[in-house]
C-alpha cells in the first residue's frame, strides 16, 4: 500500500515537472493581459507570413539535415561495425565530441573557417544542415549501433554474400530494411535538434535566414502573446511529429519481426 502511494507521488512529481511550463505557456497565450480567454494570438500567428515562412524554413532545414545525416553517417558506421572495429571505436569517440563542445564554440569554428575564400558561406543557410548533423551525430550513431548489435548484422551480411549477393546488394536489400527503425529513430532525434537549434543558426547566418527559433525569439521580444502561442504550436507540432514517427517505426518493426503465431 505504502509503495503504491510512493509510486503515485513519483508519477505526479514527474508529470508536474513536465507539464507545468507547458500549462503556463498555454494559459498565458490564451489569457494574455486580459481577463477573457481568447485564441486571437493563435489566429494572428497563423495568418502571419513570417511565421509560416520560418516554419517552412525550419522544416526544410531539418529534413535536409536528416537526409544528410542518414547519408553520411549510416554507411561508415555500418562498414566500421562489420569490418573495422578499431575505426568504429574512433567513430564512437569522435561522435561524442559535440556532447562536450558547446554549440557556440562549434558556431564560432564554422564562422572562422567559412568566412573567406572559396568557402565563404557565412551568412548563408548552406552550412546549417552540416552543423545540425554534427550536433545530432552522437544520438544518431548510438541509435544506429544499437540496431546493428541487435540484428547480428555481420552474420546476415555474410549469409547474403554466400548466397551470391554483392556487398552493395546485401547492404541495400538486407541491411537497410533492418536498420530502418534505427534510422527513423536516429533521424527523429536529429530532426528535433534541427528544428530547435538557435545558437549556430544565429551566429552563422547573422539572422539573415529566418528559422522557427529565430522567429520565436523576435516574436517574444516584440509580442510576448504571439511568442507564447508560437511556442505552444511548436510543441504541439513536435509531439504530433514524434508520435507519428514512433507509430511508423513500431509498425515497421512489427512487420519485420512478425506477430508470434
Amino acid at each position: 500500500m505504502f509503495e503504491k502511494w510512493i509510486y503515485r507521488i513519483v508519477i505526479v512529481l514527474f508529470l508536474t515537472q513536465v507539464l507545468v511550463p507547458f500549462v503556463g505557456l498555454v494559459q498565458f497565450s490564451i489569457q494574455g493581459a486580459g481577463t477573457t480567454p481568447t485564441l486571437s494570438s493563435f489566429q494572428q500567428l497563423i495568418v502571419n507570413p513570417l511565421f509560416s515562412g520560418s516554419l517552412l524554413n525550419s522544416l526544410f532545414l531539418a529534413l535536409c539535415t536528416v537526409i544528410l545525416s542518414i547519408g553520411i553517417f549510416t554507411p561508415p558506421v555500418w562498414h566500421a561495425y562489420l569490418y573495422a572495429p578499431k575505426v568504429l571505436r574512433v567513430i564512437e569517440a569522435v561522435s561524442f565530441v559535440p556532447f562536450v563542445v558547446p554549440a557556440v564554440v562549434l558556431a564560432l569554428a564554422y564562422v572562422q573557417f567559412f568566412s573567406s575564400g572559396l568557402l565563404n558561406l557565412v551568412g548563408t543557410p548552406y552550412l546549417l544542415p552540416f552543423a545540425f548533423a554534427l550536433l545530432g551525430m552522437p544520438f544518431y550513431v548510438q541509435v544506429l549501433l544499437n540496431r546493428l548489435r541487435h540484428t547480428d548484422a555481420l552474420s546476415l551480411h555474410e549469409a547474403a554474400q554466400s548466397l551470391g549477393a554483392t556487398g552493395v546488394y546485401a547492404f541495400m536489400k538486407i541491411q537497410l530494411p533492418l536498420l530502418r527503425s534505427g534510422m527513423i529513430n536516429g533521424g527523429l532525434l536529429i530532426f528535433t535538434i534541427s528544428i530547435g537549434e538557435f545558437t549556430i543558426t544565429q551566429l552563422t547566418t547573422g539572422g539573415s535566414y529566418n528559422t522557427l527559433p529565430l522567429y520565436l525569439m523576435i516574436a517574444f521580444t516584440n509580442n510576448p502573446l504571439e511568442g507564447s502561442a508560437m511556442a505552444v504550436l511548436t510543441l504541439v507540432l513536435a509531439v504530433m511529429g514524434v508520435v507519428a514517427a514512433l507509430f511508423f517505426a513500431s509498425d515497421k518493426r512489427r512487420r519485420v519481426k512478425g506477430e508470434r503465431a
Binding site: L156, A160, Q161, G164, A165, Y169, K257, G258, E259
Partner: protein, 347 residues
Amino acid sequence: MLTVEHLEKRFRDHVAVRDFSIRLEPGEFIALLGPSGSGKTTVLRMIAGLLTPSAGTVYIGERNVTNVRPKDRQIGVVFQSYALFPHLTAGENIAFALRLRRVKKNEIRDRVNELLGLMQLPHREHYYPAQMSGGERQRVALARALAFRPPLLLLDEPLSALDAKVRDSLRELLKDVQRQTGVTTLMVTHDQEEALSLADRVIVMQTGEIEQTGTPKEVYHSPATAFVSTFIGVSSAIFVTRADDGIHDVQWCGYSFHYPLHANQRRELAAGGTKLYVRPEAIRLLAHPVTNTEPQGVVVFSMFLGNSTRVRVRMTDDTLLTVDVPSGKLEYTEGDQIYIQIDDPRS
C-alpha cells in the same frame, strides 16, 4: 570436389590454423570436430571466402578459389545463428539466392515448394523467422543454403543452438537430406556424437592443427593421440607392447589381446611399445580369471548411469581403468577384487 592445401591463418602473432590440408570427394560428408578455439570455424570461413587465408590454397573442383569473393564461390553455408533474414518470410529466404540468379518465377516457386517439402515444412512458406521454432528456422536455413544447388555445403555448428530432442530429429533429417541431394558437405561441430553419427570421415582438430583423420569408427576405436581419446568419449590409457604369442596384437601385464591400432601406434609398437586408449565398453569385468592371464584390480569407484554403471578399477600396476558395465549384469562395489578382459571393438 574440395581440396584444401596447407591452409594457414594468423591473427598477428597468434596462429589460428596451421598447415591444414584436406580433400573431400564428391558426395562425401566430413565433420570437422574440435573444442572451442581449435580453429575449425576459421577453416570453414576461409573455405567459404569469409576470411582471407594467410597462406595455402582452396580448390573447388579444379578451380582455385582462394582469392575468389564469397558470392562467386557457389558454396552453400548454414550459419550457427541461422542468419535468416528476419524481414523476409521462409519462402523469400529460400528464394533469395534464386532471385539473385534471375531464375524464372515459376521455377523459384517450384524449388521453394520442393525444399519446404524436403525439410518437412510445407505450411511455413509465409512465416517470418520470428514466428518459427529454432528447429524450423534451422531447416529453413538449410533449405536456403541448398536452394541454388551448390556443389559444396558448409555447416557451422548447425545443431548446437537446439535442445536435445530437436537436435536428434534434425540430425536424422540432415543425414537424409545430404543423402538425397548428394551434396558434398563439410560440417563444423564440437559435438562428438553429432560428428560420429553424421560423417563419413571425421577430422579432429586441436589448437589449429589436425590431430587425426579417419572414419568415425577409426577415430573412436583407434584414437591417435591422448587428446583424441579424451575429446571423443572416455578412455583409459595403457602402455602396451607387441604380443609375443604371435596371435594377438598387443600385450599388457602379461595379458595378450586384439585391438585396432592407428598407424602411428603400429610404428611405435614396432619400436618397443605404445599407449593404447581403451574405451570403457571394450573392457569386461570378471569375478574369476578365465585364462589365468587376465590382469587383476580393485574397484575404487562405482556410479549408476541408468543403462550402465560406470566403474573405476585400479590395477596392480597402478593403472586406473574406466569400465562401463551394462545394467542388469553383476554389480560391483568399491573394494571388490576383479579381473579384466579387453574385447576387440571390431568383433
